[in-house]
Symmetry: C2
Subunit: 200 residues, 2 copies
DNA sequence: TCGGTTGTGTACCAACCGGTCCATTTTTTC
DNA sequence: GAAAAAATGGACCGGTTGGTACACAACCGA
């Protein structure tokens, strides 16, 4: 009843309601990313996400089918973003040691400035990555880091600046481990030791 | 807590023990640890925990006041267990390099064999360690690792086998990072790269 | 301008879930 | 041995939450 009254009364200024599907999708994704990162998959509330969006809960189910669908979309976008960044830096054109240093800096800085991504990955790990396995696109996407690293190590080996027995996946693991842990565990670490994991 | 034997000598013979409060508590804690580790704080269901226990939901609220209380108790016990283990190994009696190696092995093996602990810490980090801050006991408890590490580094420095500018907290961070990440991120890592993070 | 498709808002529901009430039995205290 | 306290069980409840039915407006091609 309140609906009809409002509509009737404001007929002349209706055109202000512009439709923008793509913006709605992105808006929902952005909000959902935060909510899932902060509250986890089961902790996040669809109503809360909807409320923070400029659209309604109805749209979430319209575009993403359900809570899990939205979560998967969020996860996919998060991985897309980080790999796109790594791709952008032209590491293959650089001198091996400089490239390696740059890659590490890139990883370090990205993790440092994107705690949401870190949380999301942690959440997904708690759920044993069972949503990630549905996203075949991600697998392909992430192979690029390994290819890059392989190239860097190979060239470095030829120039005699890197050891010859380095497995690129191991190297990636080591780099990720330190950069990721610093951010993912900053809260428990900070609570236990009086150390704010910032720049050291 | 067999302290119940403190009241009378005639009670030391406990025949058909139909009731065992302490066992109930431990039972609940054990089940809850798994459930929280697998499903997270909000994902875990009190009913599910109760069902897997040999007691009822009523008991959870009786002993732990509520879901959050149970979660905190689980967290506290988890930290107690790992630190107790570190304490047991007499690292202070060992030669510095051997002690360091032993400490790393201990951490590596514990993380490897206790994925539940790793998950729990991850869960707590997602919640920004806000439950951990209530547990002042944990803070004190964990200082022991740093003390141990400080001693090892100090003795190593005197013997000239370690660098002199090593911060024990930094060293602990580095050790934890690698051991922890290997386990905490094994699922996403395994889903993306075809690598089962086992013994390398 | 008209009909179908897409995008959007509102109201609502059924299941679920954390938490509690009441009753009862075992253990401890006096 | 009675009363108090501790421990336990089971039914139950009220709010929350993911999800949906319905209505309808905006967009677009013909």
């Amino acid at each position: 009843m309140r609906k009809t009254a409002k509509k009737k009364a404001s007929v002349e200024q209706l055109p202000a309601v512009t439709r923008d599907p793509e913006a709605s999708v992105q808006d929902i994704l952005a909000v959902a990313t935060e909510e899932f990162a902060i509250n986890g998959l089961s902790g996040a509330r669809v109503d809360q996400i909807a409320e923070r969006t400029r659209t309604s809960k109805r749209m979430i189910y319209y575009y993403f089918k359900g809570k899990e669908g939205l979560y998967q979309a969020v996860l996919e976008k998060a991985y897309q973003d980080i790999r796109a960044l790594e791709e952008k830096a032209k590491l293959l054109d650089m001198e091996p040691r400089a490239a390696m240093r740059k890659l590490i800096e890139l990883t370090f800085d990205y993790d440092e400035t994107h705690p949401m991504f870190i949380s999301l990955v942690s959440v997904e790990n708690i759920h044993q990555a069972k949503h990630l396995t549905n996203l075949t696109s991600i697998k392909d996407m992430n192979q690029s880091v390994i290819r890059t690293l392989t190239s860097i190590l190979e060239r470095g080996r030829k120039e005699g600046v890197f050891r010859s027995d380095l497995d690129p996946v191991d190297v990636h693991l080591l780099i990720s481990a330190f950069c990721f842990f610093r951010v993912s565990n900053r809260h428990t670490f900070g609570a236990i030791f009086d150390r704010d994991l910032s720049d050291p």
